[in-house]
Every structure is written in structure tokens, then in C-alpha cells.
Amino acid sequence: MSTSTLPVSPTTGEPITTIARRGRVGLWFMIVADVSGTIALVISYSYLWSLNVNGGWAPPGSTLTADQTNSTIPSDPKASFAVEWPFWAIFLVVVVATVLMWFGYRSARSGNHAGLVVGTGLSLVVSVAALVFQWIQMSTFPFGAGDGAYASAVLLLCASNIFHLFLLIFIGMGIFARARKGLINKSNWYQAQAASYYMTWVCIAFLLGAILTTFMVDSPNVDPAIFGTFKQQ
């Protein structure tokens, strides 16, 4: 075959390097959109934290005053699978998955097919584990969705993490299957590269969540106005 030296796209006949370049550009733009969404989350979390409207930020350990709502926040925040450290734990798990994906991708580039399959496969498994951890964390919070702005913001961060993990698992499945079939190989590795880049960004998103929930717990606004009045709490 005349084209054995230069792999080409089966649909358009363009060299794979062209397709790869296009894929990278598109990926960067996709990440821009994802970054914007994550910034929206960070803004939501930190803005609500800074305002503490009607004293309703209410992290675990505080109570909402009775006339505001029927809900109460558990007084013992460490009662169950607690709030802060699991964010870091899940972040670390995702980092491991990302490192494995990078390992798989580097293996592909150096022609190590076994390394590629093992790396991407393990990355997929670890991503699934992260999803399970995230789910356990989310379902064992000592508060419910209606327990003040803190609960809402934290649950939203978790939901965003779960969304990202689902994406990672979908991508991981595809990369793993394609690695096994030999569709990702020494001369055609750009999809594994894209997955690695994207996972690196997801790690940053998880890190942001962990930082927020660790360092922004008690609101700086200690005497917010009482709803519907001109008095302060």
C-alpha cells in the first residue's frame, strides 16, 4: 500500500497529523468552556460565602435561626463521612487516574502497546473508583440540599465532580477499547493525548473544589441583615 508510511484519516484523506492538530485546537476550546463553567461554580461558592445572606450560609456546626426555616444543621459535623478531607482524597484518586492516562499515552508514543493498554485500562478503573467515592461522599453528607447556602454550594461542587467523572469514564472507555483494538498506536496517538490533557484540567477543577471547601467554611460576614427588616443579626 502506498500510504503505509503516513497514516491518513479514513474519511477525509488528510494526514493524521493534520487531524491531530485540529483535535488539539478543538480540545483547548472545549476546555475554555469547561473552565468558564467551573469559574461560575467558584464564583457561586465564594460569593455566597462572602455574603452570608440572612445568616443562611450555615456550614455544619452552626444553626439556622428558627424563624428562617424549619431545617436545622447537625451540630456534630464529623458524625459521618465528613466534609473536607474526602474532597482531597477524591482529588488524589483523580490525579492517579490522570497519571495512568499520561503513562498510557507516553507508552503509545514510544510504541509500547502493552503499556498503553494497561495504563488506559487502569486509568478507567481508577476513574470508576473515584466516581464511587464521590457518590459515597455525596450521599453521606451531614446535611441535605435544603440546609442553607453552604450545603447547596458543596453539593453543587460534588455534582460538578460527578459530571466530570462521568465524562472521564466515557472517554476512558473509548480510549481503552481503541487502545486494545490497535486504533491508538505509535503513529496515531492524538486521542490518548487529548484525553490526558483533558484529565489534567479535570484534576485542576477537583483541586479548586477541595481548596474552596477547606479554606472557605465560616463566612467573614458575621452580622448580615435579617431578611425583610432593617436590623442586623
Partner: protein, 654 residues
Amino acid sequence: MSVDTATETKRVFGVEVPQPRQFGASGGIMRRLNFGTGLIGGIGLAAIAGWVTAIITPSSASNDTFAPMEPTYVYLAVLLGWAIGFMLGIGAFVGPLRWVVGRDITHDDAEYMAGKDLGRARYWKYTTDHKVVGIQYLIATMLLLGFAGLLAMLIRTELGMTWAELFSPSFYNSMIGTHGIAMIIAMIVAVTGPLGNFIVPMMIGARDMAYPRLNALSLWLLVAAIPMLISSMFMGGIQDGWSVYQPLASQAPIGMLGYQLTIITFAISTAIASVNLMTTILTMRAKGMTWSRTPIFVYGIFAASLMGLYAFPFFQYSQILGLSDRVFNTSFFNPLNGGSVWLYENLFWLLGHPEVYVIIIPSAAVALELMPVFLRKPLFSFNFAVAGIVGVVALSGLVWAHHMYMTGWAPAANYPFMLSTEMISIPVGFLVLVAIGTFWRGTAWTRLPLMAIYAVIFNKMIGGVTGIYLSDVPVDQYFHGSMFVVAHFHYMLMGAGLFGAMAGIAFFFPKMTGRILDERVGSIGLWTAFIGFQITFMSMFVAGLQGQPRRVLQFDSQFNISNWISTIGAYVIGIGMLIFLAAIITSWRSGAIAGSNPWGSKSLEWQTETPVPLENFPVLPVVTERPYDYGVPDPYEAELDARDQDLTEKAGIK
């Protein structure tokens, strides 16, 4: 592990290309999927999801305020079922699934999906060809514009009939909200959708978009979103204006879910379309098309896509948060429980303002693109046009809080935001300079597209100057929330945006349909609409100056006269738009056949045949010239040079 080596090859544009294994006939399951199966899938899954949800939801479920939650859950399930079922039925998930299992698409599959030899049926399928997507976008946009325009007529009827209350206040409010958001969606896609998809790849000398399947996905997501928006009208409606400020929106009936899911879906569609267009523009320009040889329209589309891409997620998240408040009882925007109304306003306007430029910049770019063709001279100062677009993009993300001067969220922030907002007038001024510089001493070929540009520039000046008032905090203290604002943004979004889109569609009509847009009927429609537009919104400025708040259905009798005039003008617009629509429809069916290049343009898209072949260019073009090489040497300059020579000689300077 068997490596799936190629078993056969195909000749693609002169290259032997090894093919993956072909499973079944080309196209595979896509052969059986079309808009009809999409509808079946959507309605079927919606019905099942709604039914199951109704069964499993305990009838006692209620929220904080003891409102029953069952309708919310059922409506949510129906909408989600519709969207997923529709996309499933039309075949949007086939590509991703084939990717995951590693069954790559062959050249034959790709050609089938691009609509090769499918005739008219390709317009009803998940077709990847950018030209088909462009036409589909055009139809979807016109439907949405028609729906929202009808609502506008009803709104003006209510406001004109000052002696009676035609609609209930809640229905009136929901008409306002639906009109607003439907128009915003329609105007966001009005240029970038049809023209961005159909024209841009040809303009840059590419065979298709960078990601053809994502292109189809973005279109059909928009189509999936439209029924959700319209259905909300029947579920209590969007009673809170297009901006659906919280916490008013949380009081609204469940129709609000339709709005929220529409926005969430549309944001995904926009992000995908933007990524696709930007990647196409960055990586697929023809050989030799350097940035200084790239037409200004491409710059405009790129800028609009970029702004949409970075700004839309904020809007999307504001609606996700609102949806979560409504469905899961969280409290992002519920001030009783620690939520903030200012959070909503900030997230909303972080999109809300860039979105204005997403609408205006493409239509300005259309204007600058077609002016050189009709004036037969180069674009005046191409660099300035680019600088203007870049300047608008750079400032677009820094001005959102001028919508929030009067909210009191941060009075000190009004100073910097006033500064950044008024700075915008400088890059916008560049674009105006380029326009009038191109008019300067040009022989105007006064065909419909160029005439529309006169209307656009006129409207844009008025919109721009009134924008300067509104950018000033003290003045905004009077105008904010009044009819003045409504008139101002209609001058921008409709007067500049929609008329620009009409110019663009008239200009590219021969390439898109193979026929010339009827000049006489089209012009009558355009100028009728233009005159009606001036009547409507000039008197709306007056109402605003007199102090009429916006979004009211009854008002003091002192505002009667300006509202009567406004309503008469609105009907004139309606008639004009119907005439223009009639011109489009009749010309499309039976207009004069256009050659491949009826305007004598020099840019690439006009150098292909009409109708455009599937692969656009049999041989990819190579660009060797600047885009607007029209014109003859300037006689005045020659005279000046001669005279100068003369003077220097007389003065004895060698």
C-alpha cells in the same frame, strides 16, 4: 490483541486511503434514522418518562412552601425525555457509541452522513454537510423569529389598547419573557448559524467544518430546545422577563423549567457550534490565506464564537442553579436560606452582555464583508476593522455590571464599570470608521444588500448614542428599567442585528439557494419594516424619557400617545417583515436563477459552482491576494502627487 488493519482502500481526493471495516451498508443505522424517528423517540421517551415519574412520585411530595412537587418532577422528566429521546431517535448518539467501541466511520459512511445522493431527504436527517446545516439553521431561525415576532405583535396590541386589558397580567408577563428569550436565541444564531455554517468553510477554502458531526449535533440540539421553550408557554409560561431574575423565577409556575432546560440545552449547542467554527477557522484556511488575507466576516464569526464560548457557561450555570433550587430545594437564590439575588444577576449578566456583542459583531462583519463588493473598492483600513473586533472582544467580559448599576450590589464598582463601558465606544467607533471610510467616494451599487447596510448603520448610530447615556451611572439612575432601555437595545439587537442578518441573507441568498432574492419585493419589505421600526422605537424612547417603566401592561394616561404610536409602528414592522418573508419564500421557490457569482465578488465562496458541490472545491484553492482587491488607483492621489512634484520642482528642491 489483533490490530484491525485496513482491508481495503478508497480513493479520497486523489489519495489512496485505507478504510476501517465496513459494517453493513454505508451509513449503517443512520440509514433508518431521520427527523421522524427523532420525533417518535422524543415523544415516546417523554411519555414514558413522564408516566414513570408520575407513578413513582409520592403524591404527598412538597417543597418548603408546601407546594406539591409532582407536576415539577413530571414536567422535568417529560422535557428531559423529549430531549434525550429526540437526539437518540435522530441518531446523535451513534457516532459517539461507534467511537467508544472502536468501529470507526469509513469514507462511505461519512459520505452517506453528509447527505450524498439523498436529495431533499438530507434536510430531514442528521446530516453533517455544512451547507445542509446552514440551511437547516436558516429555517430554524426564521421559525423562531416568526414565533417571537408574533408575540411582539400581541404585546404591542395589549400596550396599544390602553382602554382595555386584553390579556391577563400573568399571560402578558409570560409573553414578554418568551418573546425576549426566543428573540435572543434566534438572534444569536441568526448570522452565525446559517451564514457561519454555510459560508465560512467556503470562504476560507475548506471542504467542510472541522467536526462535521458536532455541526449536526449543535443544530439538532437547538431544534430539540425549541419545543421545550414553546411548551413552557402552556405550563404557566415564563412570567419573569427574559432575564428571569431570581427569586421571582422561583415563584413562577413550572413553565420556568422549560426556560431553564432550553437555556441549558442551547448553551451546549452554542458551545459546540463555537468550538467547531473556531477550530475550522484556525486550522482549515486555504493555503496562502494568512490572517491579513482572511475576510473580515471570518473574523466576526470567530469573535462571536469566542465570546459565546467563554460567556455562555455562566448563563448555563445560573439556570442549572435555578433548576436545582426548584427541583432539589437548594438555596442558591433563596435569600431566606442564604442565597443571593446578586449572585444570579452577576452570573446572568456575565453572559448577558457579551451576548449582545455575539449578536452585533457578526452583523457588523456582514456589513463590512459585503460593502466592498457593492462599492467596488477595498475595505477601508482592514487593520482597523480587525482592531475594532479585537477591542470589542477584549472589553466584552469586563462590562457586565453596567446592567447592575442600580442593584446596589457594589456601589463602588460602578466607577470602573462605567469606565470600561464607555471605553467600548472606541473599538465600536473603529468599525464605524471602517464603514464610512468604505462608503467614502464609492460608487454605490444600490442593490438590496447594500441598502440594508445603510439601515444598519443608521440604527447602530442611534443605538450607540443612546447606549452612551445608559453607560453613565447618574443618567442610568433615571433610565434603568424604563422603556428607554427597551428602545435602546431594540435599536442594537433588531435595528443593527436583525437588519444586518437580513442584509447577509439577501447577499448570500444566491449562493445558498441558487436564486436571486426578489429585489423589488424584498426592498419594499425591508423599507416598510425600517420605517415601522423608527416609528415604534422612537416613540418608545419618548415613553422612556417620560418615565414609563418597562414590562408593564397598564400605565398612566400620560404615556398613552407614545404607546399608540409605538403600536402602529409595530404593525408596520410586522407587515414589512411578512413582505420580506414572502420575498424569501417566493424567490426560493421560483426566483431568477443566479449564476455562481452574481455580485462579481472576489472572495472564495463565490468562486465555486452554484449549487455548491458536496466537496465545495474539486481542488482546494490557494490564496494569493488580499480579500478586497477591488478598485482603481485614486485619481485625486495621482493629481496630488503630480502637483506635489510640481511644487517641489518650483521650490528648487531636487
